[in-house]
């Protein structure tokens, strides 16, 4: 427990430290930079890029989560049950499509910039949240669902007061998975001119500057680990304290 806590704090301090004062990491990164090349990426601030990166993730995952939860609710209603296989197939299709392909196909339609990335992240976020929300809703014990009906809850009251609260830990677990996938995928968005930490990596690859690649890669990975960890704490808190 304490070990894990210390690990988290060190990682958080490292990520924040790099964003706020990247120059202090020059001695560590110098060996990776070719002679005469800049060690730290300087065409944009890391704070700015990190915010863009996380902004992309949030802007894609929030609608993704809403749609996925809505779909899961609809297909678990008596009238929506027949759409369950169809929605599973659709959402699964979104997941199997490679993100690079989504980017490539989206650019001719919506142009360069943030939009193709948002579309890819949105599609990528659907499956884990949908499947988890589905598992959560289907997993409500039969006797509990029967009691909700028998007490005289309307279908809407049953959904809001019983089914969704009971499914919540699994839903957040799904959001956690989607968010981590989105953080790593967002980096690829910079290939089509989305602002994200990916642009540091791409600049490094273009200029053959390994230092840029390392700092962009590590920062992205650090963010993913921190977000995964943070949402894990949220899940644990929900499970510990039922509502």
């Amino acid at each position: 427990m304490t070990g894990a806590l210390i690990g988290r704090l060190v990682l958080l301090a490292g990520v924040l430290g790099f964003i706020l004062a990247p120059d202090s990491f020059v001695p560590l990164l110098r060996p990776f930079a070719p002679d005469g090349m800049p060690v730290i990426y300087d065409r944009a601030g890391f704070g700015n890029l990190t915010l863009w990166h996380l902004g992309l993730v949030v802007a894609a995952i929030v609608p993704s989560a809403l749609l996925a939860i809505l779909l899961a609710v609809l297909v678990t209603r008596p009238r929506g049950a027949e759409f369950l296989p169809l929605s599973r197939a659709l959402v699964g299709f979104g997941q199997t499509f490679p993100p690079v392909a989504v980017l490539a196909l989206a650019v001719p339609v919506v142009g360069f910039g943030a939009w193709p990335t948002l579309i890819a992240l949105f599609l990528y976020g659907l499956l884990p949240i949908f499947e988890n929300a589905l598992a959560g809703l289907v997993g409500v014990p039969a006797s509990v669902a029967l009691a909700a009906d028998g007490m005289g809850m309307t279908p809407r009251q049953k959904l809001w007061q019983v089914e969704l609260p009971l499914a919540l830990p699994l839903v957040v677990e799904g959001i956690r998975i989607s968010a981590v996938i989105a953080i790593s995928t967002a980096a690829i968005g910079s290939t089509v001119a989305a602002r994200s930490l990916g642009e540091v990596i791409i600049a490094g690859l273009n200029a053959n500057n390994l230092s840029f690649v390392v700092q962009g890669g590590l920062l992205t990975a650090g963010l993913a680990v921190l977000v995964y960890d943070g949402l894990g704490l949220v899940v644990a808190a929900i499970r510990r304290r039922p509502r």
Binding site: P141, S143, V144, L146, A147, D149, G150, M151, G152, M153
Partner: protein, 311 residues
């Protein structure tokens, strides 16, 4: 009063409940007994419309239940199910408050009612109230389930195998408590069970169900004395019939003037208790207590054995 009028429920061409007509008198306990698949739970669920009849109708105090919106109807009917079905994310107190909450009672009235019910069911409101269902024992969870069903003062209480998940010792206590509670509140109870002994102990009348039909609908003594079909007799278990019959009658009824040695039989003991006591203590006459607790007479072995044979 609950009245079934030629009620049937057909699933995929199979009648799970087949043309059942039955009247459950107000303020009584009716036990519906049958093996699994006999349609007894389906019959019960047609009262609060968790199952809609394919044919026939169910009347509640003269009103056709189909004419009342299902949610409104259910809030007026208490419902207890086998593994209690408590909402796992709510405390015991909040579970009990479910129906008053749905009915929009004021906060203070709900809190007072929850407290009152918990005391009535011997649950300490300050200790058990804030606990979550997974922190309750089986017996406590069962009582919270009963409290939840009674919260909005329903006139009708439906119980679907309410003691099925309890171990035998607690079950017997829970049955006794239910009987007392029902007498105190005057609620009309429809109880579904597969256990004939439970039906005999609790039911004012017993309906024996088989394959969607009622084989016999009669008071327990009549069921034991004259089982209408072989199936009813099988459910009774031939060997236990005499003891079951004795267990329905108070021993005090056999008291005749006189005195006997040894411990006095309590006033509420049944004839079965008296016989068991005789066998165990090797006596053939027992002093029986009157309502005041003092010996009021004796009960003899010959009288007991005669009383165990109906008719």
């Amino acid at each position: 009063m609950i009245r079934f009028e030629s009620v049937s429920k057909v699933y995929d061409g199979i009648a799970v409940v087949d043309d059942v007509s039955l009247t459950l008198e107000r303020g009584t306990i009716t036990a519906v007994v049958g093996t699994s698949g006999s349609g007894k739970s389906t019959l019960l669920r047609m009262v609060n419309r968790l199952v809609e009849p394919t044919a026939g109708r169910v009347l509640l105090d003269g009103t056709d239940t189909a004419s009342v919106p299902a949610a409104d109807l259910r809030r007026r009917i208490g419902y207890v199910i086998q593994d209690h079905g408590l909402f796992p994310h709510w405390t015991a107190a909040r579970n009990i408050a479910t129906v008053p909450g749905l009915l929009g009672w004021p906060r203070a009235a709900i809190d007072a009612r929850v407290r009152e019910l918990m005391l009535m069911l011997q649950l300490d409101p300050d200790v058990i109230g804030p606990r979550f269902p997974h922190e309750l024992s089986g017996g406590q969870a069962q009582r919270v389930g009963v409290a939840r069903a009674l919260a909005a003062r329903p006139e009708v209480l439906l119980m679907d195998e309410p003691f099925g998940a309890l171990d035998p010792v607690i079950r017997q206590q829970a049955q006794t408590d239910l009987r007392k509670l029902q007498q105190q509140l005057g609620t009309t109870v429809m109880l579904v069970t597969h256990d004939m002994a439970e039906a005999i102990r609790l039911g004012d009348r017993i309906a024996v169900m088989r394959a969607g039909r009622i084989d016999q609908f009669a008071p327990p003594a009549e069921i034991i004395a004259a089982p209408a079909t072989g199936f009813v007799a099988d459910l009774l278990g031939e060997g236990d019939r005499a003891f079951r019959y004795l267990s329905l009658q108070p021993a005090a009824r056999l008291a005749r003037p006189g005195a006997a040695d040894g411990p006095v039989l309590p006033a509420d003991a049944t004839m079965a208790d008296a016989l068991a006591e005789m066998i165990w203590s090797g006596r053939d006459r027992l002093p029986v207590a009157g309502p005041d607790g003092h010996p009021a007479g004796v009960c003899t072995r010959d009288d007991l054995i005669r009383a165990g044979r109906p008719g």
